[in-house]
Every structure is written in C-alpha cells, then in structure tokens.
Amino acid sequence: MMTVRYLLRSLILMAVLAFSSVSFAADNHSSAATEARLKSLSSELRCLVCQNSTLADSDAPLAQDLRNEIRKLIDEGKTDEEVVEYLVARYGDFVTFRPPVNTSTALLWFGPFIMLLIGAVTLIVVLRKRSGTPE
C-alpha cells in the first residue's frame, strides 16, 4: 500500500514539475535567471542620457529600451561578454563603467599611479637634498 501511494505521489510530482516548465516558457515576463543577469549586467553599464547613472537605475527612455534589448539578448542565449560587446559596438567604450585596458586607455588607467610615483620620487630627492647629509 505504501509503495502505491509513494509511486502515485511521485508521479503527480513529476507531472507538476514537467508542466510547470511549460507554463514558465509561456509566461510573458522572462525568468528569474534572466532578470538576475539583466540586473547584474545593467548595473555595470552606463546610461548614455543620464551619464552618471547605470542602465539599471536610469529611468530614461533609452535606458528602458536598452534594458529590453539586453533582456532579449540574454534570452537568445548570449553570454555576458557578448551583450557588452553588442553595446560597445554601438556606443563605444564609454557605455561600460570599466574601460578596457588597451593602448588608448593605458594613460587613463596608469596615469594616476605614474603621477604618484613621480611625486614620491620628487619628494624623496628634495628631502634628501634638504637634509644635506649624504647617505
């Protein structure tokens, strides 16, 4: 008796699970996984209208359009890199909050450290001269 009930229950459970995935696909809103990826991707991308906001935060019409576009791309199976590439191809590196490290952005990335180094070296040289005592 136990086995029959157990079997019946597991059959019902399997049926429910099988059909729940069908209803998921028919659902108008995309899945939780897509929304999560959309959220993380759009928080790393700049809104080009309100340029200090992320695509996730901005209410600008373009931001809404781009969020929908990203959602579509995710549902099409694109990877995160492909989504970013899609936007960079259209809007340039400025759309990402982290510019890529290449020859044209090297000064942007390393400039501050270089200036810090120059400042530190200058400081040491000047202090040494002032103290007068040769080391």
């Binding site: 359009d65 781009l66 340039g92």
Partner: protein, 174 residues
C-alpha cells in the same frame, strides 16, 4: 636666476595647456564607434505610407545623409530650417523618425517643410539602437559603399555644414 627654479612654472604652463583644451571639450559627447564601419542594415516602413518600405540597401552606390529626429525633440526643430535649406541645395537627406508618433511627425513636416527625400519610421527605436543613437538629432553621412564616414551629434550647425559636411560630401561624390 637658476634654471631649475623655472621647472614648476613650466609644469604649470603645460598643465594650463591641457586644462585649456579641456574647456573646449564636451564631456557628455559620446563619439561613435561606427564611423568607418558599415552602416547597420535596416528596413523600415515609410512615414505616412504604410505600404512602402525604405531600406538602407536601396542606397548602395549613392552618397546620402541619414538624419534621426523626432517631433518631441526641441533641438530637432532648431535644426529643421537648416535641413530644409540643405534640401534646397540638393543634399541627399533621408530622415528617420525616432520613437515618434506618426501623426505628430507628419504634422511637423507639414508645418515646417519636408527636408527629406524619404522619411523612415522607427517607432520602437530599434534602428536607433543599432546606430548608437543616444540623443536626437543625430545625423550620419554614408558613402557609396555604405560606410558611415561622419556622425553629427546634436543639431547640424552652419559652421559644421560648411567646414565638415559639405567638403566631405564633395569628396565622397567623386
């Protein structure tokens, strides 16, 4: 006077030069990565004519300009008289009504004159996204091979027209 003492002054002048140049730059301007690349292909319904379509492929072999505009865009209205003048001078101007309502767009063309040979209708803005539009008006100069050669961000000014666009159009026509 020791030459070394002039170093801070020299550094300051160099910094002034950079900062001075910076005063003339627009930090909000997003230069387009599409210049030098093929114009994204599109096919769109023609504004005011539901049966006709306009396709970027139709323009192969011709030099043309694509102006993205909308009836809700104030800067587009500022630009409009210049566009009408450009049409009068025979410049091949095509329009893309970006995220606009058809009646409103047609009303503007009726009221202010129609500078476009054909106006395509981009109601959902998808063509705009492909072209990297982030604020209308934006205008593209496209050559005979279908490559984008120049993008004007914001309204075309008489100065840009004279110094950048007209010489480029002349060069591309050859």
């Amino acid at each position: 006077m020791k030459l070394k003492a002039l170093i801070p002054l020299a550094l300051f002048i160099i910094m002034l030069a950079f900062l001075g140049k910076g005063l003339f730059l627009n930090p909000r301007e997003v230069p387009s990565p599409l210049v030098g690349k093929p114009a994204p292909a599109f096919t769109a319904p023609v504004l005011g004519n539901a049966d006709a379509t306009f396709s970027s492929a139709d323009m192969k072999g011709k030099v043309w300009m694509l102006n993205m505009w909308a009836s809700w865009c104030a800067a587009c209205r500022d630009e409009h008289p210049l566009l009408v003048e450009m049409k009068a001078h025979g410049i091949p101007l095509y329009g893309l009504a970006y995220k606009d309502v058809e009646e409103d767009a047609l009303a503007v063309l009726k009221e202010m004159g129609n500078p476009y040979i054909i106006t395509a209708d981009d109601q959902d803005g998808r063509i705009g996204i492909d072209y990297g539009v982030y604020g209308v008006p934006e205008t593209y100069v496209i050559d005979k091979a279908g490559i984008i050669r120049y993008k004007q961000i914001g309204p075309i000014t008489p100065l840009d027209l004279r110094d950048k666009i007209l010489p480029l159009l002349k060069e591309l026509e050859e």
